[in-house]
Every structure is written in C-alpha cells, then in structure tokens.
C-alpha cells in the first residue's frame, strides 16, 4: 500500500513537472523555427560577443569559442566554471570513498583465464579510445568525462584481469592532483593574460581542426586525465572491505 501511494505521488509529481516543462520549453520545433532572440542562439552561432559572421565548418577562423561541438563550447568555454565545479564534485566523491574505505583491507579476486587474456588485449585498446575521445572533445561528441570514464573502465578491466595489481596508487593521486591544479592554473592564466578567470586566451584557429578552439582541448585533456585517475581510484578503493558501524 505504502509503495502504491508513493508510486501514485511520484506519478502525479512527474505529470505536473512534465506539463510545467512543456509550457516553458519547445520540444516540437526545429531550432530554426524558434525565437531568434533566445539566448541559446548566441551559443549555437558561437556569437556571444556579437562579432557576427557565418559559421562554416573547416573555414571559419578565430571564432570566440572555436569548438565544432556546441556542447563542448558551452561546457568548457561559456560555462567552464560549472565544469570546474563538476570535477570538484567528482574529486570530493573520490575523497569521500577514499576516507571511508581507504583504510580497509584489499580483497583479491580470482579471475579466469579468458578474462585475464582478454583484459591484456582489450584494456590498452580501451585506454587508447578513451584518450582519443577526450583529445577530440572539441570536434566530436564526447569529451573529458566520457573519455576519462573509459580510461577508468580500462583500469577496472585490467584490475579484474590480473592477480597481482600493484597496490601503489600514488601515481593515480599525482595525476589527479596535477590535472586538477593545472586546470585552475590554466584558468588563472586566463585571468592574467586575458582579464578573466578561465578565459580562452589562446588563438582559436580554424573551426574543425584538431589544433583549434584555444584552451578547450587542453582543458578536456586535463579533465579526462583527472576523471580517469579519480574513477580508477574509486574503483581501487571500492575493492577494499572495511567493517563500519
């Protein structure tokens, strides 16, 4: 009965929320049919500062953000501060897991032959794909977070697939720490060079080239490394058992 009531309440709430959202957001029309003065148009056109100019892939140069991926330009350029916050959230979660489980005893899993062999072959490939994804974050879908997670998955696979994992996680910590610190230093460099924190102070190049979009690729590499090392750390910590009250 209790569960039915909860289900009912959740459904009612969901109904109201979807109706409310429907009144605010237009899901049913293509972007070109929407109000031209909406704020998001400026993001789409890569034209927040109002310098104008058409957006042509492979040709437009020195755009304000310079990323071919709109999502990336929002996440790592226009609202880069939020991303800094998000990696901090992940950092905190890793810290929390470390504090709770870090002092526990490591358990070793026995893994089968197939897993061991496959892990040896697949894990490097996964690692490579992960690196690819976050280095191309400004060009293709993906970016630091998925890329980093993929790296962590590779680590997990490697972890399952080998009986003798080195318990020394110091390098992971170092990567995590350095990447995070570099992100902030990059932001501060923006403050000193261009005048505001996390500002894109490098030339943005041509839209669609690998070396373009200023600091965006750099940030995404750092984010990828940080996320990868952090999630790996979490995985390693979760494998410990501790008796807690």
């Amino acid at each position: 009965m209790k569960k039915l009531v909860s289900l009912f309440l959740i459904l009612v709430l969901a109904f109201f929320l979807t109706t409310a959202l429907d009144q605010g957001l237009d899901f049913w029309h293509s972007p070109s049919q929407l109000d031209a003065f909406r704020m998001s148009n400026a993001f789409v056109q890569n034209d927040v500062l109002g310098e104008g100019g058409a957006l042509v892939f492979g040709e437009s140069k020195n755009l304000e953000s310079g990323s071919a991926n709109i999502v990336t330009s929002i996440v790592v350029d226009y609202r880069s501060f939020d991303t800094l916050g998000e990696i901090t959230v992940l950092f905190l979660s890793a810290l929390g897991v470390g504090l709770l489980m870090g002092s526990g005893v490591r358990t070793t899993l026995r893994s089968g032959f197939i897993l061991k062999t496959a892990a040896k072959m697949v894990a490097p490939l996964m690692l490579l794909t992960g690196i690819y994804i976050f280095t191309h974050g400004h060009l293709t879908p993906g970016g630091g977070f998925p890329g980093g997670s993929m790296m962590a998955t590779a680590f997990l696979l490697h972890y399952f697939g080998s009986d003798t994992v080195k318990s020394n996680l110091k390098p992971l910590k170092w990567i995590e720490s350095t990447a995070g610190a570099l992100y902030i230093l990059l932001g501060l460099a923006g403050l000193f060079v261009a005048g505001s924190f996390l500002q894109n102070f490098l030339p943005t190049g041509t839209l669609g080239h690998l070396v373009s979009a200023g600091i965006i690729p750099l940030v995404y590499v750092l984010v990828g490394l940080k996320v990868g090392s952090e999630v790996s750390g979490i995985v390693a910590d979760f494998s410990k058992t501790e008796v807690v009250s």
Binding site: A20, S80, D82, T88, G96, F192
Partner: protein, 475 residues
C-alpha cells in the same frame, strides 16, 4: 588581477588538489588559504566579476557586494577559528574542508542559478563526508538521501526557471519571474524553496539535523552549526531577494514552515536532556527564525540573527562537544558542575547562551529586537507574539543548562566541592584561546549594535525588490 574575488574560489580549490599529494603540509595549507582569503576579501573591489570573458547572461559571473562581504567574512573567520580549535580532527579532513570552503565561497558569490546548484552540491557532498566523522554512518546516509532529493528539486526548479525566462542570472531574475502567470511561476518557486529547505532545516524536512547535529564532535558540530548553517541562510536570503517570487500560497506556506520550524524546534529542544541534542534542536529553531525574517522581507534582521547564531553556536558547540568528549557523555547528570573546573570555557559558554537567547547587553538581543520591529512593519502582529512566547521556552531550556553546568550542588543544598565531578582535561591552552577569541568577538559586537545595525541596513543589494507575502500577485 591579484585582488580579484575569484581567488576566494580558485585558491582553496588549488590548495585542495595539491593537498592530496602533499599530505604533510595539508593543515598548513588550509590555514594559509584561509588567511589569504581574508586578505583577498579586503583587497577585492566590489562589483560584478565575469568568468571566461562572457558577460552575463551568457557567461557565469560572480557578484561581490556588501551582503556577500559580510557572509564571506563571517565564514572565513569562523572556519579559521574552528579548524584551529579542532586541529587534530581537521587534519584528517583537510582536502574536504578546502573544497567545502571553495564551495561555500562560490555559493555566496555566484550570480548564476545553475552554478549555484553546482556549488550547493559541492558543499552538500563535503558536508556528507564531514558528517562521517561523527562515526554514525546511518545518520549520514539519511542526511545524504534527504539532501540529494532536495538537490534534485533545486535542479528541477532551475531547469523550469531557465525554461520560462531563458536566463539563469540571479541578479534581477525576480523581475522576469514576477511577470509570468502565477500558475506557471508557482512550481519552480516551490521547487527552489524545497531545494533549499533541507539544508535550511525547515520543518517537514529537518529530521536529519537531529542526529547529525546531535552526535557531533568538535569538528562537525561547529562547522555544521556555525559555518554551513549561516552560509545556507545567507544564500537563502540572496534567493529571497533576487529570485524567488512569493505568491500568497507559496508565501504563507513558507511562513508557516518557518514559524513551525521555530516553534517545534524550540519545543523539542525544551524536552531534551542531552546537551548536544538540545543545541541541535535550538539550531533548527533559530534557522526557522532567520528564514522567517528573509521571507517577511527584513534581510538585515535575518543577517543579524544568522551572525548571532553562528558566533554563539560556534562557542556553544565547541565547548559542548569538548566537554562531552572529555567526560564521556552529554547528559545532564554527567555534565553537572563541569564549569567549576573550566571557568573560562564556562564564561564563554554562558556569554554565548545569553546572546543566543537574546538577553540584553548581547548581540542576540538586538537581533531579536530588529526582527520583531521588522515584523511589525509587515502588519503581522501575531508573529511577534509567537516569537516572544517561544523565546520564553528558549530562555527556559538554555538557562536550565547553564545552571546545571555551573553548579555541582544537589537540589536543596549549597554547593560544595565534594560533589564535583573528577576533573578531566578538555582543551589545551591554544584551544581555550580560540574559544576566548570567539567570545570576545561576540561580546564586542554586542557592545556596538547601533553601528552594526546601521551597516547592515546599508547592505540591501541594488535590487531592493522585497516581496511581501501576498503582494506578488499584483505584478
């Protein structure tokens, strides 16, 4: 450049990332960061700071005004003193505290609703981790669930606000929202309010505080009651001032929630026989009072209440958790007469409790007076009656504790040294000094209330669009 307000967030974050690998210097890093932050606070010019080079509404910006200055100053100073007070415990949690500091500063500075959500999340997660220091993981888990649900509510509210107005800039968002039809703006407003209600400890969702505050130790007690609580209070004040449009329905709901938080919290505190639990419910009650002030459009009274409560609670929790740890138990029977051995702590504790109750000569009195005066101007004459009646209950239980803690004597007999509990070591000289500094700050503020209140009344932000209950609909 060097005086930019962004350092308040960048510096603790940088320190946090570095501290993971530099474990020996962690604590020093924390202290240095806090000291640097204080310098930045005084050096930074007031105004809007843009991030990433994009003006609002396109980019994220930080708003540093008098209001933010007061809140930030309070939090840096209190956090600095608390980590010195609880040094052995703080050492284990340094990176968390650093990140929490960055989150708190971000939360109080940010001018973007989504960014606010991110910062609230950071602070909440840091708070979850800190609360594990109490050693009761079940309580942390309950807290986590509640705070997460409310986080979802806040996020949904933000999404709806963006959907309806197309912007996320906090400053002046109220004007846009007020122009929406009532039925439309009601839902995001309610979601945003409930998104903050858990951290504000408002009544139907304040149950977590009973256990988190009530089992606190020397680190978590002061941090929760004197840093996190006022920070969320200040954020709520900002939201009430810039974002949330109250209609009669939401306004009265919020008012009823705030009043019942105050009354029920104090009533529950009245029956406690455990010092920490008493303080926990008192924190709940006081939070309700501050929320009431912000709801009724009297931010300076709310600020005064928050400051008074933060300073008083830092002392009360510091001393209470200290003696609890030393004497093994927070019950009335065990702690009876302990202040005989710890006179200085006792004096600081008494001062803080007198101020908490709002007894004249102390800051709390002026906070209470400005609260009641502010409510009179809204015309709600029955609210002060409730406040003052509840203040009697509050005074009653605080005084009961004070009398018990000071006097080792049995009822009906003169006090003699025979009944004294065995003296235990509570604090080192350095820790006593910290408590003393807090007490002196509180006392000095009470000595010059007029200047203080005047300064606060000037802190009304540029958008002085206070919405009284029931007036939102007219727009």
């Amino acid at each position: 450049m060097m005086g930019s307000i962004i350092w308040l967030i960048a510096l603790p974050l940088l320190a946090a990332f570095v501290s993971v690998v530099a474990q020996t210097y962690q604590y020093g890093l924390l202290v240095v960061t806090l000291l640097m932050n204080l310098l930045v606070l005084f050096a930074a010019p007031q105004g809007l700071t843009i991030i990433g080079g994009y003006e609002p509404p396109f980019g994220i910006s930080l708003l540093f005004d008098q209001y933010a200055l007061i809140a930030l100053l309070l939090i840096q100073v209190l956090l600095l003193l608390i980590i010195v007070l609880a040094r052995p415990l703080a050492k284990n949690y340094t990176p968390v505290i650093l990140v929490m500091l960055a989150g708190l500063n971000g939360m109080l500075l940010t001018n973007d609703l989504f960014n606010l959500f991110v910062m609230i999340e950071i602070v909440s997660i840091a708070a979850f981790i800190l609360s594990t220091a109490n050693g009761k993981l079940t309580h942390t888990f309950h807290y986590l669930i509640l705070a997460t649900v409310s986080g979802v509510f806040f996020l949904l509210g933000t999404v709806l606000v963006y959907a309806y107005t197309g912007i996320l800039v906090v400053q002046g968002l109220m004007m846009r929202l007020a122009s929406l039809p009532v039925a439309l703006s009601l839902i995001p407003m309610m979601l945003l309010i409930f998104g903050m209600a858990v951290e504000l400890k408002l009544v139907p969702v304040s149950s977590w505080a009973k256990n988190i505050y009530g089992q606190a130790n020397l680190l978590t007690g002061p941090i929760f009651a004197a840093v996190l609580a006022p920070a969320f209070g200040f954020v709520f004040g900002r939201m009430m001032n810039e974002v949330i449009v109250l209609h009669s329905l939401t306004g009265y709901t919020l008012l009823v929630m705030a009043i019942s938080t105050f009354v029920l919290g104090e009533l529950a505190a009245y029956r406690q026989t455990d010092l920490l639990k008493t303080l926990a419910f008192s924190s709940i009650g006081q939070s309700g009072l501050a929320v009431m002030m912000f709801t009724l459009g009297a931010p300076w009274a709310g600020i005064l209440l928050l400051i008074n409560n933060a300073l008083a609670k830092s002392i009360l929790y510091g001393v209470a958790t200290g003696v609890t740890a030393a004497y093994g138990n927070a019950s009335m029977g065990v702690l009876k007469g302990v202040f005989y051995h710890h006179r200085l702590l006792g004096v600081a504790f008494s001062l803080a409790s007198l101020s908490l109750v709002g007894i004249p000569l102390f800051l709390g009195f002026f906070a209470k007076v400005s609260a009641v005066m502010a409510i009179f101007s809204t015309g709600l004459i029955w609210v002060p009656v409730i406040i003052l009646l509840t203040a009697i209950v509050e005074g009653a239980y605080v005084m009961r504790w004070l009398l018990q803690l000071w006097s080792p004597a049995f009822e009906g007999y003169l006090a003699s040294k025979k009944e004294l509990p065995q003296k235990r070591n509570v604090f080192s000289a350095q820790q006593i000094l910290v408590v003393g500094v807090l007490a002196v700050i509180l006392f000095t503020m009470g000595l010059m209330p007029q200047r203080f209140v005047d300064a606060l009344q000037k802190t009304q932000p540029a958008m002085a669009q206070y919405e009284m209950v029931g007036q939102g609909e007219q727009q």
